[in-house]
């Protein structure tokens, strides 16, 4: 186990569809199973119809039957502004309602009887992973490295950090997913090459090109399709099953029943996964759909072969390759120049995907690391290196860098970079600009972050107007714009007329959409919840001790009571009844069910009183 005095540190892959947590244990990075024994936890949260909050696999299992109160793919929304193109796209496909934040700034989610900020939603998934790690280590875990897509801007990264804070985690660093995958892949070996990370996850496809040289992991190009992933493959299988079922049962439509659809989705995903390892599998769903008035429920029984699955999804795989080709073309990289191809995401285990990658790159993709674990493992390696610099892990220590270009909007609506992507922070840079019109006396400074040449496609971080510029012919005035990023990631931008000395400035702090005050309130509420749970645990412990003591006393009296009852004509079933009560107590204690204990405690007390009377009173009840 980790030897740190401050407790273990973990790496978290907070995915769109699934999340995973890992840690370096006795020098070896490994994924920590959740409390159900699974290595992946679905990034799904729900408020069930009975009001219970569900996270992970349980929430996923009722995602279709309780669609309006189940939140998945929150990562698509984190740190996004209300009204942005990404949020509008998400609104078209997500079944749960989205609303604007208090100042119409960020996007929020309505679930159950309240509105949630997106960092709060992600915090619940992070909290679940934290609890899994704590159960694994047997001690509190408070520090983590969390991964995000390489294209995430500062706002999205800050929102992910806020999610960590709400979950009670100090986010030591946010690192890029492809970088994390490359770190895990390169663990224990030296890589100095051009690496492509082909990440086909549950909901998104990302392809990244990294230049790795002397421990510098430079993400030089990123491409992808944010609406292409394993779920599209599942849907193809589901459609095939629905159509086949309708043919077999006179047009019976499984899509009309949410329970049937939920089972169908689970079965389609399972069959798809199985076909990565075997050539054929059977989908067996008994009592899937009501048969109608007085008729028995209908079963679904079908064989799915790998070649059929490939036929159903060939176009999706082709889309992945087309996106990969476009990304490489944009970066001016030929497939033959790529030294390694790292496969990430569960869907990349599909043989057809691997074959397509092999054919495109003309080389075998990596097989050394598990595609669903590799990102979390890289994060764990980074967390370990940050927590244990003394252990000579500095070769995998990543520097804190700017994720995207920072700059200004210039005439024509173009974007002028001032601080390029991947610049190590803290840093500063200046750039001299001039006016675009004769006798111009003011200039608008729009501070942007992004990778597009067009200013409008990048994220606006803040803006201000510099007044009092000396009237002159266009191009004659010199305005110096300075960008400075502190070690805390706070960006200061100033603009100065070099002749008049007129100065105007702005400070930009990456924001998740949550104010500090709101964040504190949420964290306080979580502390209250925690205290309540602690009190409930204390109450359970107290009741457990009392119940165990009463049960032990009753069990000790059983021989005496049995003897006493043998001389009597009544009360023969007293011992059997008492044993049943004791059994129920043991079962409730084992299940940790505090709600049953008060009633059982009362029964135990009555039984004990009776037994004491019987044992000491010659078989007559007291």
């Amino acid at each position: 186990m980790s030897a740190s005095g401050e407790g273990p540190v973990i790496g978290i892959d907070l995915g769109t569809t699934n999340s995973a947590v890992a840690a370096v244990v006795e020098g070896v990075p490994r994924v920590i199973p959740n409390r159900s024994g699974q290595l992946l936890t679905p990034s799904v949260l729900a408020v069930a119809r009975n009001g219970k909050r569900l996270v992970g696999q349980i929430a996923k299992r009722q995602a279709i039957t309780n669609a309006e109160n189940t939140v998945f793919a929150a990562k698509r929304l984190i740190g996004r502004r209300w009204g942005s193109r990404e949020v509008e796209d998400a609104r078209k496909v997500l079944p749960y309602p989205l609303v604007a934040g208090p100042e119409a700034n960020d996007v929020r989610v309505r679930m159950g009887d309240r509105v949630w900020s997106v960092p709060e939603i992600s915090a619940l998934v992070l909290g679940e992973l934290k609890a899994d790690a704590e159960a694994f280590f047997g001690q509190p875990v408070t520090r983590a490295v969390v991964t995000v897509p390489a294209y995430f801007n500062d706002g999205q990264r800050q929102a992910t950090k806020d999610a960590g804070r709400i979950a009670g985690l100090e986010v030591m660093r946010i690192i890029n997913e492809p970088t994390s995958a490359a770190l895990a892949y390169g663990f224990g070996r030296s890589i100095e090459d051009k690496v492509v990370v082909f990440d086909l996850g549950g909901g998104t496809f990302d392809v990244s090109i990294l230049d790795i040289a002397r421990s510098v992991y430079d993400v030089v190009a990123v491409g992808g399709d944010t609406y292409l992933g394993g779920e599209d493959f599942d849907r193809r299988v589901m459609d095939w099953l629905v159509f086949g079922f309708a043919q077999e049962h006179g047009g019976a439509d499984l899509r009309s029943d949410t329970m049937a659809l939920q089972r169908l989705k689970d079965a389609a995903e399972k069959a798809k996964c199985e076909l990565s390892a075997v050539a054929a599998t059977s989908v067996h769903l008994p009592f899937l759909l009501g048969g109608g008035e007085g008729r028995p429920a209908l079963h679904l029984e079908r064989q799915l072969r790998r070649d059929k699955l490939e036929e159903l999804t060939r176009d999706l795989v082709a889309r992945c390759i087309a996106v990969t080709k476009r990304t490489l073309d944009d970066a001016g990289v030929r497939p033959a120049q790529v030294g390694e191809v790292i496969l990430v995401g569960g869907m990349s285990r599909m043989p057809l995907v691997q074959q397509a990658v092999r054919e495109f790159f003309g080389r075998e993709p990596s097989r050394g690391v598990h595609p669903e674990e590799v990102v979390a493992l890289g994060a764990a390696i980074q967390a370990h290196a940050l927590a244990h610099p003394e252990q000579g892990a500095s070769e995998v220590l990543l520097l804190d860098v700017t994720p995207q270009h920072l700059g200004l909007m210039v005439a024509g609506g173009y974007f002028q970079t001032v601080i390029p992507r991947n610049t190590t922070v803290p840093t500063s840079a200046t750039h001299v600009f001039t006016t675009s019109h004769d006798d111009q006396t003011s200039v608008r400074i729009a501070v942007l972050q992004g990778v597009s040449e067009k200013a409008g496609d990048n994220e606006l971080l803040g803006e201000f107007v510099l007044h009092g510029i000396r009237p002159a012919r266009r191009g004659e005035v010199a305005i110096e714009v300075a960008f400075e990023i502190s070690a805390d990631g706070i960006l200061g931008v100033s603009a100065k007329d070099l002749v008049t000395g007129q100065l105007q400035s702005i400070t930009v702090t990456a924001t998740s959409g949550l104010t500090e005050e709101e964040l504190r309130r949420i964290m306080d509420e979580n502390v209250d919840d925690l205290l309540e749970r602690k009190q409930a645990r204390g109450e359970l412990e107290r009741r457990r001790a009392t119940a165990e003591q009463l049960a032990a006393e009753i069990e000790a009296l059983v021989p005496a009571v049995t003897t006493a009852l043998a001389r009597s004509h009544f009360g023969k079933d007293a011992v059997v009844k008492a044993q049943a009560v004791v059994q129920r107590v043991h079962a409730a204690i084992e299940a940790g069910d505090a709600s049953q204990l008060p009633a059982l405690e009362e029964q135990l007390e009555r039984t004990l009183q009776l037994f004491r009377g019987l044992a000491g009173g010659g078989g007559r009840p007291a």
Binding site: K52, L54, T65, Q262, F287, A591
Partner: protein
């Protein structure tokens, strides 16, 4: 069998929709105690005439029986309808223009001629006999509840509430019966935190007689989810989930 048992079995059969069995049981009860008011009131539900020897029962009129066209009070008379145009004067023929390629629109003809179908002046009174029908069911629900047959009682209550959603006593019984049934079924399941397991092989499941809701719940039982989780993820009312799980447990499908 006692009269009470026969009546109870009759009610169970009736709530199952097996009217033949219900009538048989109630007639057997009536044979044991001729003229028994309770038995007669149930037979009245079927619109069955009592045995000739029985004294004239307090018959509940059957709203759906063709032998009883008369609905008693609330019956609409001709006077209660708006006057027919024919009663005033013959309707004038109104020229109806049919455009080329169009058919005759009867509704339009109706409108143009101002000759309308007869319409009652006031909305028709609720079908006579419904209220007494509800009262018989309510009486049955009370008795079944008192006998401990909360399922039977609940079924009758649900029928009452379909006809009269605001029926206060039925609502009260609904809450009481539901709570009692949930407690009964949950006590059979054991602690909510316990994790059920499939007790038969997946192949054997096909040979069971289940509905699709039970099929859904059964599909969720994989040795990792607790009863409490099943209540949360089923999406069904708690009572239905508890009932299905208790039945699966009783049938030995899960353990």
């Amino acid at each position: 069998m006692t009269v009470a048992e026969l009546v109870e079995e009759g009610i169970s059969a009736y709530t199952r929709g097996d009217l033949v069995a219900a009538e048989r049981r109630w007639r057997q009860a009536l044979a044991l105690v001729p003229g028994d008011e309770r038995t007669l009131s149930y037979l009245a539900l079927l619109g069955s005439p009592p045995a000739p020897s029985a004294p004239a029962p307090l018959r509940e009129p059957d709203p759906f029986s063709p032998q009883e066209p008369c609905r008693g009070e609330g019956r609409a008379t001709l006077e209660e309808y708006v006057p027919s145009p024919w009663e005033q004067e013959p309707a004038e023929a109104v020229p109806v223009v049919i455009s080329e390629g169009e058919g005759l629109d009867l509704a339009s003809v109706d409108e143009q001629s101002e000759v309308y179908t007869l319409v009652p002046r006031t909305p028709p009174a609720p079908a006579a006999g419904r209220q007494p029908h509800v009262e018989v069911w309510m009486r049955g629900a009370r008795e079944l509840s008192a006998l401990g047959d909360f399922t039977g009682s609940l079924e009758l209550i649900e029928r009452i509430l379909k006809l009269d959603p605001a029926h206060a006593e039925a609502r009260e019984y609904l809450t009481h019966n539901e709570a009692t049934l949930i407690a009964m079924y949950e006590s059979k399941l054991g602690p909510p935190g316990a994790v059920p397991h499939l007790a038969i092989s997946p192949e054997e499941v096909t040979w069971l007689s289940l509905d699709h809701r039970a099929g859904f719940l059964l599909a969720q039982i994989d040795g990792t989810v607790s009863y409490e989780d099943l209540f949360a993820l089923s999406g069904l009312p708690r009572l239905d989930t508890a009932r299905i799980l208790a039945n699966l447990l009783a049938q030995g499908v899960i353990r």
